[in-house]
Chain length 255, copies 4
Amino acid sequence: MSDEEWIRTGVGASDADSITLMGRDVASELMGKVTFTELTFLLVQRRLPSAGEARMLDAVLISLADHGLTPIALAARLTHTGAPDSLQGAMAAGLLGAGSVFLGVVEDTARFLEGVAGADDVRAAVERAVGERVDAGERVPGLGHPVHKVQDPRTPRIYELAEETGQLGPNLAALRIVAQVHEQRTGRTLPINGAGVAGAALADIGFPAELLRGIALVARTAGLLGHLAEERERPIGMGLYREVDARAVYDPPDA
Amino acid sequence: MSDEEWIRTGVGASDADSITLMGRDVASELMGKVTFTELTFLLVQRRLPSAGEARMLDAVLISLADHGLTPIALAARLTHTGAPDSLQGAMAAGLLGAGSVFLGVVEDTARFLEGVAGADDVRAAVERAVGERVDAGERVPGLGHPVHKVQDPRTPRIYELAEETGQLGPNLAALRIVAQVHEQRTGRTLPINGAGVAGAALADIGFPAELLRGIALVARTAGLLGHLAEERERPIGMGLYREVDARAVYDPPDA
Amino acid sequence: MSDEEWIRTGVGASDADSITLMGRDVASELMGKVTFTELTFLLVQRRLPSAGEARMLDAVLISLADHGLTPIALAARLTHTGAPDSLQGAMAAGLLGAGSVFLGVVEDTARFLEGVAGADDVRAAVERAVGERVDAGERVPGLGHPVHKVQDPRTPRIYELAEETGQLGPNLAALRIVAQVHEQRTGRTLPINGAGVAGAALADIGFPAELLRGIALVARTAGLLGHLAEERERPIGMGLYREVDARAVYDPPDA
Amino acid sequence: MSDEEWIRTGVGASDADSITLMGRDVASELMGKVTFTELTFLLVQRRLPSAGEARMLDAVLISLADHGLTPIALAARLTHTGAPDSLQGAMAAGLLGAGSVFLGVVEDTARFLEGVAGADDVRAAVERAVGERVDAGERVPGLGHPVHKVQDPRTPRIYELAEETGQLGPNLAALRIVAQVHEQRTGRTLPINGAGVAGAALADIGFPAELLRGIALVARTAGLLGHLAEERERPIGMGLYREVDARAVYDPPDA
């Protein structure tokens, strides 16, 4: 590869008359022909999705878009309080909180399933993998939710849509077995949570585990924009600061 | 309003059995029923779009998603080079460059049109507004493009789709007049650019000018994720750094 | 300038045996010889400060470093709640709120003083400039503070240090006149605030107005790191989220 | 702890007449009395440093402040290209690249030394720890540098200053043994690098490993501000984009 050719990309290109994304002409092949969801699939997987895959990606994006006044939404709103002129700064601040604690479960579940979903004997593989976690006193990713203690409403809906669209693949199937095995092992019934089922569904439509956090980030931008639109109309950032500041107990070190 | 009630939101809520976004049950009313694009519209405008509005929003999101190895994409890739473990950091870094120079035109065009599109005599209002800009030696937002000098391929496609879907409203109409008046005034033919037509189209489907940058940011996250997916497979960030570092001429101040 | 030479920098360079910053050898000329504050001055102004200038910059950095549980500190802490593995993400989220509302006053004051501090008749220039603002119903930057209503404790200290170090230049002098003229004009006594006096002091030691926000950002990183160190020991982010979430009134649009 | 008292902080507080940081009055006890470096130490360690500790922290901050046109500096400059109105966005983008690849070594070295520096027989502990890494084919953190192949100029300077100031503690001592043991084990002489020696020096003056990345981030803000000050005068971001865009080979997937 010559010196001149190491800068290569398939994402986007343009010349005087055309703009292309992943080899498709934007004006004639994409705009008006595919949805933004289908474009997102194309940009990551370098191919357009089937109708079923697109429907699953839409459902997952919607399921991850927002969860109310989370730390992520609050960080974005408080950033807007101090820098209302930079909408991109408030959006970026919100995304920065989409780390291991909340959205990491999407990725963690997919990685956990990677180790079992392709096994010859899936149940045996799940029993081993769940057993190791339980014995080590670790959580099994994708199970349990602090609010949705009996059932996460997103989970049965994802399974229903996966069946409808023919996208119920090895990861979603294995995740069900994970929940059953966990219950048998521990005697505790933990529901499959929305982040976990999202990870399994995205893996089944071809997304690699290492990029699932990115899909969750795309989903969150819509939620964050909703919060910032609302913050401009009915702010809570300044009120939150004032209340925290008024209630704060000052507790310095001994001098 | 009592002390307890100033924290209000319509964006998202959840309880043990359900999750709601803008008053819609996520599992039964949104997942599998609407697209992520329709959800984005709902989260910002607090109502679901018509089919035509959704199609226009999809087309605009696609038109703004990516433009190749822009400063935005390069900043995201270089951030990934130093912090590959934090995908959210690389995405956020990319969004932070989506400021006044590139995506600002979307918003600037919509604000410019706000002043003329609702006038009784639109052409007269445009002549006044364009005249002021031209006389002041300022650019008219939405016109001209460094690469697409004759025609931006996105522009005729947006007008075509707007007609097809019945969404060709006062802003898109006024923008055409802006281009005509500018040509008559200056003798120079400048095409309506993709950012400008996006701003007009978004205004016609109800988005306020102050939030248009946010729509552009949602669009860009898909492009950025495409770049980061590619960067993980075929990195250019480290090579770019090495070449810049090797070529850099050190030019310190006199000591 | 040839194609190969447009990549020029004076900031930093290194070869096999040495590292240089602004033309000084890091190991032999900077480490152990100057403070980080002097280095910051050097990196921005391309020369080392005098002892008096360095003392003023230290005082200003300290005065701007932190103000308790501000929106900036809260955004950093909430980001850490969701992404504890990315300290750089939490720090960056905090900086993103250091925009026009809080730290912008530093820059705004310096820009306001630029227009009057160099005038032949400073008092006359101040009277004109303050008069214009007051007549337009606008605030005069650098005056007034929501908490320090009578006197901002940082202000007399900066003036005292500026006299001690011989750094009381035209901007600090003009800012005093601004406060006097404002009082005469309006009958209201507003104290010079800490952000305003910081802007004037930084201008007097040679920092251009357009970079003052950057100095404030350097100062804030220390405060943010203090908050994040504390957050790891005694977190408030998760508690804040839980309380907000519990108290939030859900107020969706009519469906 | 009552409901009202869980919001506690020792970092900062203010009332009508005073501002306090870690229990010190900002105006009378800190401004003009301590340096910004000493304040940074206070904010993280909740005590003021000795003169020797402060001198070491200054030296380390300077050693980490900048390394020329790194990915971090380039990301900040490219972000400024697109959003010149948001200095905080460009600074934040730069910090976001200060992750595991570059500045992570500071933290990794300190964590590695944690396991050996306090052992009864340090040499035996180092031999075990280095042996494990070497046998596993892993790098020993703190050793080797792509540019400074024989000696990193910062390393002898830090040891010299540590001796001068009486701050050569168990971590710096153990790091020397690490380098010796590594050489005996592998037959390869790798120099102690600047990031590694910074980690050891910071550990010796009391900073916990988990916050070292934060110290590196404070250091980097000065370097980033230097780059952004220069970028405003002599930009390279736009030129870099243009060249990359012109040279990019478009390599889309097969349609």
